[in-house]
């Protein structure tokens, strides 16, 4: 049974819609991310789930009980959820131990059990030795761990995280996102995680909800999302990509400046009219000469027009012959091509994603 169900959820501020028609079912113990650029409505959605905002349309239900609707919104303190805030919101007037014990005290937990639970969670987040410190004496990462401990210790029905890592530096962020996933694997709390960072979402989540302009673009697991984007926005937002736009003419697809046999492409049978494909730069291999085996490759010839060296790979821009398309290719560090040289770009058709729907 689904644990947390959003149905036709919408929120407008005055006449400006912030969230429109968001429907989503999250299973017991599932970790779901809301991913999108700033202003896409992901935080608004999260705050509606938490009960800090009342929706203008739709409902939010947990275990079949409606908590939010336009008529009534259960206040946050009665939802049995917990949340990790962007600012961590660690109370500076309480010690680490007092911060973590706060929710348990509100639940009138007896002293011995409370102490056991606080000890255990501080152990888990490796803060046992800082129990009597005040937050001002802690580093950013440690504060983050206090926030995690404080919200997990009450074993909430639903755990909400609002961009929890955006205030940390890059290294710490990588460490903490694995930590969050580890804690989830340990406690199996149903979790909704808001972020604008696709790597965070991919590392932590079972499923990712990509949002844009207040609407859901796609809901999928990280692998499908990356390899089978269902909209131009998703393909562009998750990783870097090349868009190839063409038109189907019988058995061939006509691109600006070159053509390709339709049979090469995935789902060729259903293609008609204007079509858009997404090709990831690392799926474009560059050769100095026509490769010997071209049996299942699609070869385009062209010229290197730009290049930059990024250490982990070369970033090339190839302009196919007779075309003004700019095709990005990521090549290994030893794959060196000078600007102006002629290259053969080989694309594995199995790695090309067809973007359905109207050309965006």
């Amino acid at each position: 049974m689904s644990k947390l169900v959003l149905k036709g959820l919408g929120k407008s501020f005055g006449k400006t819609p912030a969230v429109q028609d968001v429907s989503l079912s999250i299973a017991q113990g599932e970790f779901v991310s809301l991913l999108g650029p700033s202003g896409c409505g992901k935080t608004t959605t999260l705050r509606m789930i938490a009960g800090f905002m009342r929706p203008t349309t739709g409902t939010i239900a947990v275990n079949g009980v409606v908590l939010s609707s336009p008529e009534h919104s259960q206040p946050p303190e009665k939802r049995g959820m917990s949340m990790i805030f962007q600012s961590y919101a660690i109370w500076p007037n309480m010690t680490v131990g007092e911060n973590v014990a706060f929710g348990l005290k509100l639940r009138k937990m007896p002293g011995s059990e409370l102490k056991r639970r606080v000890d255990k969670i501080l152990e888990v987040v490796q803060l046992a030795h800082l129990r009597d410190r005040y937050p001002a004496e802690l580093s950013g990462g440690q504060q983050q761990r206090v926030a995690l401990a404080r919200s997990i210790v009450i074993e909430p029905d639903v755990l909400l995280l609002d961009e929890p890592l955006s205030n940390l530096d890059a290294n710490l962020r990588e460490e903490m996102r694995s930590e969050i996933r580890r804690l989830h694997d340990e406690f199996k709390i149903t979790t909704v995680y808001v972020t604008h960072d696709q790597a965070e979402a991919m590392v932590t989540s079972d499923r990712i909800v990509v949002m844009n302009h207040g609407r859901i673009e796609q809901v999928d697991d990280p692998v499908s999302l990356y390899n089978r984007p269902q909209s131009r926005f998703v393909a562009g937002f998750i990783g870097r990509t090349n868009f190839l736009e063409g038109r189907v003419h019988g058995g061939t697809i006509v691109f600006p400046g070159f053509t390709a046999a339709a049979g090469l492409f995935p789902g060729a049978a259903d293609l008609a009219g204007n079509v858009t494909f997404s090709v990831r730069p690392q799926n474009v291999a560059l050769h100095h000469a026509m490769p010997a085996d071209t049996s299942n490759g699609w070869i385009l010839t062209g010229q290197i027009v730009e290049r930059s060296y990024l250490g982990e790979y070369w970033d090339y821009v190839v302009q196919p012959d007779n075309s003004d398309i700019r095709l990005r290719a990521a090549a290994p560090p030893l794959d060196i091509h000078d600007i102006g040289t002629r290259v053969w770009a080989e694309i594995d058709p199995r790695r090309i994603a067809h973007i359905p729907g109207p050309r965006g």
Partner: protein, 582 residues
Amino acid sequence: MTPLAAEPIAIAQTLAVPQRRAGGRFDPLILLWVALAAILAFLVINPLLRLVLSSLEAADTGAFTLQNYVTAYGRPRYIQALWNSLSLGACVTVLCLIFALPMAWAVSRTDMPGKGAIRLCVLGAFITPPYLGAIGWILLAGPNAGWLNKAFMGLTGASEGLFNIYSFQGLTFIIAIYSFPYLFIFTSSALDVVSSEMEEAANILGAGTLRTMLKVTLPMVLPAILGGIIVTFLETIALFGSPALIAIPARFNVVTTQLLQFFNAPVRSEVAAAYAVPLLLITVVLFLVQRQLTSRRGFVALTGKGGERRPIGLGFWRWPMFCYCGMVLSFSVLMPYAALSQAALAKAWGRGWSLDNLTLHNFQYLLFDHETAGRSVLNSFFYAGSAAFLVLGLSLSIAYIVARRLLPFASVLSFLCMAPFVVPGIVLAIAFYAAYAPPPFSLYGTSLILILAFTTRFLPIGFANATAAIRSINPEMEEAVRILGGGRFLAARKVLVPLMKNSLIGAWLLVFIPATRELSTAMFLYGPKTRTMSVMLLDLSEEGNFEQLAALGFMLLAATVVIVGVGSKLLGGDFMLRRDRG
């Protein structure tokens, strides 16, 4: 996993019972809104309304009339008083600019020595009640008997003194030496956020220090200076104490002293109301202008962070600059304080510093023998303390409702809280008199009317500080309490109030300190048993009792210094001089 895991579900299920909370459901917060609105109506709306109405009513019949305005502005000397006020305001403002601008620039931007001491003395000038400074200067520059005049006559053998404090020039001077801190605060806060890089950008293009200051720095802080000019002007025309001490003996009137005369028997409060209305209008209009100025776009630099700041080297001019600042501050602090302390400890102040002239009798007499003086000290602190608590309670509740957008039309409440800011103290007093002196309230002369009037007078300071305090706390701090199961009240008690503790103490002090010396409001509302220290000081000066007067002033100052000292310990040294005090 644990017994607890089941609990949230249980909570959720009890909630399944449909609670009708659709459109028509009554929200208890509405009651709070109504209660707060009623209090503000009593404190702010009704007095101002009564002021305007009573200015339009015949005293005996209550019929509509314009006669009060005809009476109030019918005589040339009444018009002359208004003109005196306006020109006094202008002259004081010019003098304040001369005092404050170089000082603010030197303290904020240069390597002048002794910047900490200068700031401290500005604070000293700021917390000195202007009427007390005026008394100090009567001792210094009173015709013939004043110390400076005696020194001049002694040195030159002249038969007449050089200075006469009982003159328009004298009044301008003694107001300016206590008003310039406003301009200093406005200007130095603005300068504090101008990045050094802006000036260095001008330097690198070939502009020298002076040129950079005039062409780059000054224009950037101009809106702040204009704001300070308007505040200085308005404070001056609303001032009562110094004009009462100086202008009345010098036989000229300003608006505020003229208003007092309408209250001399026979009391013509309706004429006073009519006379006060234009003062109120001038103030409202100028404050609107000031808001317009400071909110104008195009001075973005003032809102951002300053970036790295390096003091400008003054070279040779370091010490002359210091001497200039020191001179201004010795006018406002050192010299009058010296004169006051001599008088407070003297049997007769004119006999100077000699051992046989030293006595503590003045203090003893005031505290234990004088009929009302001891009581006036207690009254002042009691009224100020009560008003500070009322202000804090009101402004916290309203600031919270406004900041968290709990109720619609909360901005109406915040507007009412800030409205007294544009009402001069003396106008407020007349408004309170008009509203609550007659039956059914009949509060004239009671402690209550003084406490309520002080509450209204200082509400904007409290509200501005409470708003700033609440805004400085991330709402997520409270939301974290609520999502873990605590209600709004618990969040306020466990998190909000502990976190704001220091700002709240600061706000309390910022109301308490000016309330202990408030004169203009008290002057029109006190009764035989509710004299405040400030009123007492004025009475003593009319009797010519300068020794006791100085002793009383000394106690007021000592108390203030102790309180400000405690405040600085708790809140950081500059808490009085911050710009955000409203």
